[in-house]
Amino acid sequence: MTEIIEFWNAFRPALGSALLLAGAVLAVIGTVGVLRFPDFYTRLHAASVTDTAAATLAIVGMAFLAPSLAIVVKLAVVWLFLFLTGPTSSHALANAAHTAGLQPMIGRLGEDDGGRE
């Protein structure tokens, strides 16, 4: 039993760091999408990768690195609030753009259709 715990304690930082790194990479990917996509609505989709997957991976990674269970509970609460408020703010942005009359680009889009060259 103690061997399992020792192994776990040695393995934990590596796993946590790997998850944090994966989260950071996903955040960068989301940012690349925000810069590449042509209009407001499509950019919102790219940003939601950062909102969901990147945030989840980063928080799980931090939970593996946390020194005590108290921190893990706080991280879980942070994660829950992120997942409740994230879509609300995205919807508020999209709804405001729609109400203001911003027309989305529709149909298949290639590199020439206003994308960044």
């Binding site: 909102d51 609300t88 989305p104 529709i106 298949r108 590199e111």
Partner: protein, 172 residues
Amino acid sequence: MFETGATGRVGYFLGLITVLVALWLGLSWDYSFKPVIASLGAVSIVLSAVLAFRFDILDREGSPYARLFQLMAYWVWLMVEIFKANWVVIKACLRSTLDINPALVKVKTGCESDLARTVFANSITLTPGTVSVEVEGNKILVHALYEEEAGPGAFDEMDRRAREASDGRGKS
């Protein structure tokens, strides 16, 4: 169908108190129960619950904890969907030539209550690649990154699960 009488409100009140106590214990992580700290916690919890009661927000939306297990089961299913959808959007972000097919579609929902509609619309927004733009009655305007991801029937399962999780399997 929904509890609105005095017993229902007592249930919502007790549910809110339970969750606030759990939140306070989880965040303070203080199990020594020193009189000063514990009494401050108790006062803040009671004050929040009484304020919620006075603001008249103690209903099935303000305190949806009776359906906690159904909502958590839905949450687990939703997480899998979110990660599947993430993969599609990540590929779209990284493709060397931009190749997307955005569309604006109207999705009809069978969700009757405000809670179920909120859960459904929030789930659509939370899933990368689709954003709910406007909710009008039982129709939700959805902007999708790929038209084929939002075709007819694409949201049927999410609609059904959101409805069952927040309103139960009954007709509603």
